[in-house]
């Protein structure tokens, strides 16, 4: 709702825009509006809250109480939509947003379909949020039940990472500039590290989180999508299908690990007690609602290889975890070192620092290029320096939140930043061997202390190829 309000603030919504809130709780329209008012006022980031605008925006908010398993609920929705179409001139255009338990997606899609709501006088679209299934088979089953009522073009699978400015900027950076793309291949790039670190724990979501884990919660969706954006081929056009075709192709090219390859290419971790930001924190197994013998991974790292001409042999290291030292998401492209160390080595036996290109997703979205430079003065002493581009400082204007971008895209029918089913299945295929191997394994958890950069095994995984994790 804060994202919708912000779009209204920017004047991006049609005057007749309306929202019907649906849940099991009995509530009047006014009660719903009051709750939304408080929620928007609380969670609106970087924007003023305008009461006058809210009053106008709130006129379009109505509420229905209903159960997703009750066919009558859908009839009530149908009637409400017809009424709104007449009163607010919406031309019958409807976007269904399922902000529910993922286990209810299929049931709701079926309910909408059976009530005839998947088709109408205007366009009909449905947004679902990850997780899209909990493995490959369940993802295919979910899709089978949804596409029985909605066409693929009507389904918008939201992955909010793709709505982030920096992720979108990856495409601008790669395909809007002439100087980087010639270097963007196995000849010049040594390896890529993608990090999504959180400095918080499960924050009371222990019960939910222990069903998901870091691999499912982050890598299977967000981070593989980011990797696809980094590594995909240029699309012929910027049309939704053209871009998604390339992302999908890349994901399908990710090498599927054989069971015996998993141990060397994937690392599971779970945090134990530690100190984070000056606070003592408990281990995952001591969190409320968590099984004291839980095998859930709160940290996951994996090495993915891409079987195509551009990337053959270039490892893509992906890691994510809870209670790491700081909150940061970024992509580090490590270029190969200069072929000849004409200026000697930084230290005996140590190679000269390689060039690094850092794409920061959060916080402080931006891009940095690291290279070495001569230190002023006598002698040829080289030192690493960093050239930074900061989104906020360079443009001086607010970046829309990922949800603003994605909701507006869904409203105007642009699915470029949404995930397609073939992409969902391809990314499940990439992680399925890891899930299978881990489900049959008992880990000696906990294996990293809260506030550290993860288990030692993750360092060993990179060391096998002569690499080390960068400290973001």
């Amino acid at each position: 709702m804060p994202a919708l309000y912000r779009l209204a603030y920017e004047g991006r919504l049609a005057p007749g825009f309306a929202v019907i809130g649906i849940s099991r709780t009995a509530m009047s329209d006014d009660e719903f509006r009051n709750r939304m008012h408080d929620s928007v006022a609380k969670f609106l980031e970087d924007s003023p809250f305008d009461e006058d605008l809210w009053r106008s925006f709130a006129q379009g908010l109505t509420y229905l109480a209903g159960d997703v398993g009750d066919a009558a609920s859908y009839q009530k929705v149908s009637a409400a939509l017809e009424k709104i179409a007449q009163e607010r001139k919406t031309d019958g255009n409807v976007l269904f947003y399922l902000s529910t338990q993922p286990s209810q997606y299929a049931e709701i899609a079926e309910g909408l379909g059976k009530a005839g709501l998947a088709k109408g006088t205007g366009w009909r679209r449905i947004i679902i949020e990850k997780p899209f299934g909990h493995d490959l088979v369940s993802a295919q089953e979910l899709d089978r039940r949804i596409v029985a009522h909605f066409e693929e073009e009507q389904i918008y699978r939201i992955d909010h990472y793709l709505g982030k400015e920096t992720v979108q900027n990856i495409m601008a950076f790669r395909f809007g500039n002439g100087i980087f793309e010639p270097l963007w291949n196995r000849r010049y790039i040594d390896h890529v590290q993608i990090t999504a670190a959180e400095s918080i724990g499960v924050e009371g979501r222990g019960a939910y989180y222990q069903e998901a884990g870091a691999l499912r919660d982050m890598i299977q969706n967000h981070l593989l999508q980011v990797m696809a954006t980094i590594a995909m081929e240029p699309s012929a056009t910027f049309s939704s299908d053209s871009v998604r075709d390339e992302r999908s192709k890349l994901l399908r090219s990710v090498h599927t690990m054989k069971p015996e390859e998993v141990a060397e290419n994937a690392v599971a971790g779970q945090y134990g007690p530690g100190r984070v930001g000056g606070q003592a924190v408990v281990g995952f197994r001591q969190e409320q609602g968590v099984n004291p013998e839980s095998m859930t991974n709160t940290y996951a790292a994996a090495t993915f290889l891409v079987d195509n001409w551009r990337w053959a042999g270039v490892p893509f290291y992906i890691r994510t975890g809870k209670y790491l030292p700081k909150r940061v998401s970024e992509i580090a492209i490590h270029f190969k070192s200069a072929p000849l160390a004409v200026f000697g080595q930084a230290n005996e036996g140590e190679p000269m620092a390689p060039n690094l290109l850092i794409l920061r997703i959060q916080p402080e979205e931006g891009i940095s290029l690291k290279f070495v430079s001569k230190r002023p003065g006598a002698g040829m002493t080289l030192r690493p320096v960093s050239m930074d581009f900061n989104y906020g400082a360079s443009f001086g204007e607010r970046s829309p939140s990922a949800y603003e971008t994605l909701l507006l895209d869904a409203i105007v029918g642009d699915a470029t930043l949404y995930t397609r089913q073939d992409m969902v299945e391809a990314s499940w295929r990439a992680v399925q061997p890891i899930l299978d191997a881990w489900s049959a394994q008992k880990f000696p958890f906990s294996n990293y202390a809260a506030g550290t950069w993860g288990p030692e095994a993750a360092d060993v995984m990179l060391a096998r190829r002569g690499h080390v994790w960068r400290t973001p």
């Binding site: 400095s199 930001g277 320096v385």
Partner: protein, 313 residues
Amino acid sequence: MSATAAKPDDLLKELSVHWRELGSGDAADGLLRACSMTLTCFADDEEDAQSLGGVLASLMREHPSRLVVVRLKDGEDELTARVSAQCWKPFGHGQQICCEQVEVTASMDRLADVVSIVAPLAAPDLPRVVLLRSARVVRAGALRKILRLGDKIIVDSSRVGAPGFGELGGLLDAGHTTGDLAWTRLTPIRALLAQLLENRNPKAIVIEYPVEHARHEVSPEARYLQAWLQTALRDCAISLRSGMREDCSGIAVVRVDQDLVVRVCKGGAEYETGSMTQRASMPDATEEQLLSEELGIVVHDRVFECALNHITA
């Protein structure tokens, strides 16, 4: 900015907001956020904040850094931090150069937390240097706790409460890059001696250190000089003794055989060879100059390490 409870994410966000505010002022077009390294300075609370601030501020001109100043005190359970920036406009330039600073105040019992807070504050991909001026850290035997904050640790052995050669040698053995301002102070005298001894094959060298050190122990500068000379002149007998001069820091006189005497004095050195006396200018280096020299070397200094190894062998 006011002091706040210290959390790395919050501090980094505060820095970001701070820069945005600085950048939105009149000087927005002429403001450069400069950072060539992360410099973390551990100091004791009793140390004169203004004097320390002056040293670090002047250091920023040559080595613009993300500066983290940790002031340690006795007492219990205190840990706060504040962020700020210092800017200056080089003469004749329109653009202001600005560096960011995080000041952390903590009681010693929170040292482990300080490390967990300061580590994530480091500017990525740039050198990280720790300047240790806190005797509390040394007394508490906590030197190793702060090592992960830096690629290099700089101490000044001639300061009261500084780590001893044994501890420094231990760091070297563990592969850490270290620097010692007592060694850096020797740079001009080493340069002079290298010139004077270039074509000689001395049999005996006596290094006299100032009497003020004699009350306690050999000055660290004298130990370093002895070790440095010994590693270069393996067949020469190099000895130390206390001298009488008080107007020099660390080294008073160097006597080479019977025919060369180098007397170190304020601002320079006099050397006598035969009946000839000459003077070499050696301006006393300020602490900022010594630090600046050390910050210019962020890799292993093999000559220094060789001398330190000789002392601790």
